[in-house]
């Protein structure tokens, strides 16, 4: 069996569709979560959802449904704690994370299932995706995308400034709960491909990658979805290719690929930010004393290699801690 033959298999096609949908949905909601500075919320929900999977294994019902139910419950609970609590909200969330993970592992044991069963849910698995799962994933993805893109003005306002949004008449708690529930839903969507313990990475890393290059929220959101798709489909194919030699779960491959994309764009982002800082116009200050520069052999110009920063009606050439502006035959210190 060669690598190309792999794509003829039903399970591989299902996995690819699921990965594509996951790559779209997780960063879409992730952008709003990062905007609210709650990057670790997804991690917490993922941990709580482990208990949901275990409950499904224990009762013999579909682990996907029990995971959705428990994840939504956990997300709502976390949101309420965060909203009501004071500064110690993070401790409350941590308590919930650990409870979810420990409860999940314990209940799986009680259900008589080994760690191997749970592992498929924790780190993703290629061949455990049924066609019912694919339909379920597709439906949830449509819900997540319609809500995040359709309500993006409202969600953006709430995520950037809660007080302002509340005075503007928005039901802030409702929108916060909506974000939490959507996060829970997309985590369950991603459970089959990336796995619960790594799912949060797919909500955060594409956003971090995209914001290296983007300046607007809209570009960040769309860029994150593109990065998410590339990482999840690419990671899946990579893990399938590697599985001829060693056993690799798709989850870690997808996350490491996303991180690699971040690492590739990061230096570019650093350079762009540094450049925009250097080229920011100098403020105009009236009545500064006139000082001319010392004898200056260098001729400043468009391509002299020194940043030409706008300053009022002229430019200052920046070098060695000085700002030189052309004044007749000589340069002024500005």
């Amino acid at each position: 069996m060669s690598f190309v033959d792999l794509f003829a298999y039903d399970f591989m096609q299902r996995a690819l569709v699921a990965a594509l949908l996951t790559g779209l949905a997780a960063p879409a909601i992730g952008t709003f979560i990062v905007q609210r500075r709650l990057a670790l919320l997804g991690d917490g929900i993922g941990h709580v959802a482990v208990t949901g999977v275990a409950l499904g294994l224990l009762t013999g019902t579909s682990p996907t449904w029990t995971a959705v139910a428990v994840a939504i419950l956990g997300a709502v609970l976390m949101e309420l704690i965060r909203e009501r609590g004071h500064t110690n909200g993070d401790v409350a969330l941590a308590l919930l994370f650990y409870g979810g993970l420990a409860g999940g592992v314990l209940i799986t044991g009680i259900a008589g299932q080994g760690a191997a069963t749970l592992q498929a849910y924790l780190f993703g698995s290629l061949n455990s995706i049924s066609s019912a799962d694919v339909w379920f994933t597709a439906a949830l993805t449509v819900v997540v995308l319609l809500t995040t893109l359709g309500l993006s003005p409202q969600l953006f306002a709430v995520a950037s400034d809660q007080d302002f949004a509340r005075v503007a008449g928005l039901r802030v708690r409702g929108y916060n709960l909506l974000i939490a529930v959507l996060a829970a839903v997309s985590i369950t969507v991603a459970m089959r491909t990336v796995g619960l313990l790594l799912v949060s990475a797919l909500m955060v890393v594409p956003v971090a990658t995209s914001q290296q290059l983007a300046r607007s929220f809209r570009t960040t959101l769309l860029g994150a979805m593109a990065v998410g798709c590339a990482a999840s489909v690419g990671g899946l194919v990579l893990s399938a290719a590697l599985s001829f030699r060693v056993s690799v779960a798709p989850g870690p491959t997808i996350v490491l690929l996303a991180l690699a994309m971040f690492t590739a764009t990061w230096p570019l982002g650093v350079w762009l930010r540094r450049r925009s800082r250097l080229m920011a116009p100098f403020p105009e200050v009236t009545a500064a004393p006139h000082r001319s520069a010392d004898q200056h052999a260098h001729q400043h110009g468009e391509d002299c290699g020194h940043p030409a920063v706008p300053h009022g009606d002229h430019v200052d050439y920046v070098h060695d801690g000085h700002r030189h502006a052309v004044h007749g035959e000589h340069y002024d210190e500005h």
Binding site: R84, H86, L95, A157, S160, F164, R173, S216
Partner: protein, 263 residues
């Protein structure tokens, strides 16, 4: 007259069980610009948060445009500039995007941006003098310019009443001047303005009335005062920390519950 923009009647507000505002009466007439002055911890911000519905009242009543605040639904008539929160979030956003979010009070769900939305956004940017920076990232701007972005965001909703909580804190003089110009243009359109301020500076000629708060009471309510007269006990450089002044000491554990306002 039933549609006075703001009427506070015997308002008391408690935070964490500790009384902060006590028996405050305040009426703001349409078209007036009222400044709230007073030392740190005197209850200026608490008063503003009570009249915008962000804090529940322990006693008394607040009426906005003649409607009790519990029944008030025309929130789009109210523009709010919170105490220097951040104009920046965890994700980059352009100046225009932040200002556009000020339209949420007037937008209907699941509708694209209308021509009226765009006009209001451009006009708000113009009033604060940031039209040429509209496509800049907010994080590229200086603190004073970010403050002007937040004011433009409130203006984009085309409010009849504008409430500003310390827009001048830590803002340099040219930016304060730009702020004052924006408020002047707004006032000429007939808007009512309530302004909490540490530094009045260039806004002095615009002010119709001054209210001085002291320890949760209204200590003075009358013709405009300069800051020096108003602040016997006030140290102008002793600003509140970002995030506001804590009136109630926090001795809390993770699951402590605190009663909050309108959800």
């Amino acid at each position: 007259m039933t549609d006075l923009p703001v009427v506070l009647d015997q308002v008391s507000v408690a935070i964490g069980g500790r009384p902060i505002l006590r028996d405050v009466d305040l009426t703001v007439h349409a078209g007036d610009m009222v400044t709230l002055l007073g030392p740190n911890g005197s209850g200026k911000s608490t008063l503003v948060r009570a009249l915008t519905g962000l804090l529940p009242l322990a006693r008394g009543s607040v009426r906005l445009f003649g409607t009790p605040i519990e029944d008030f639904s025309a929130w789009h008539r109210l523009g709010f500039v919170p105490q220097r929160s951040t104009a920046t979030g965890g994700v980059p956003a352009t100046v225009r995007e932040v200002v556009a979010s000020g339209r949420v009070g007037r937008r209907r769900l699941l509708r694209p941006t209308s021509a009226a939305d765009r006009r209001a956004i451009e006009s708000a940017l113009d009033v604060v003098g940031l039209s040429d920076r509209a496509s800049y990232g907010v994080s590229q701007l200086s603190g004073g310019q970010q403050q002007r972005v937040l004011i433009a965001r409130a203006l984009a909703g085309e409010p009849d009443l504008l409430v500003l909580d310390e827009p001048t804190a830590g803002v340099d003089l040219p930016n304060q001047q730009a702020l004052a110009d924006a408020l002047r243009r707004l006032k000429q359109r007939g808007a009512t303005i309530v302004l909490v301020a540490h530094e009045i500076g260039p806004m002095m000629p615009l002010i119709d009335r001054t209210v001085v708060m002291r320890d949760g009471w209204v200590a003075y309510d009358g013709p405009p005062l300069t800051q020096e007269v108003a602040s016997h006990t006030h140290h102008p450089h002793d600003h509140d920390l970002p995030g506001g002044h804590d009136h109630a000491p926090h001795v809390s554990s993770p699951f402590d519950w605190e009663r909050r306002s309108r959800p």
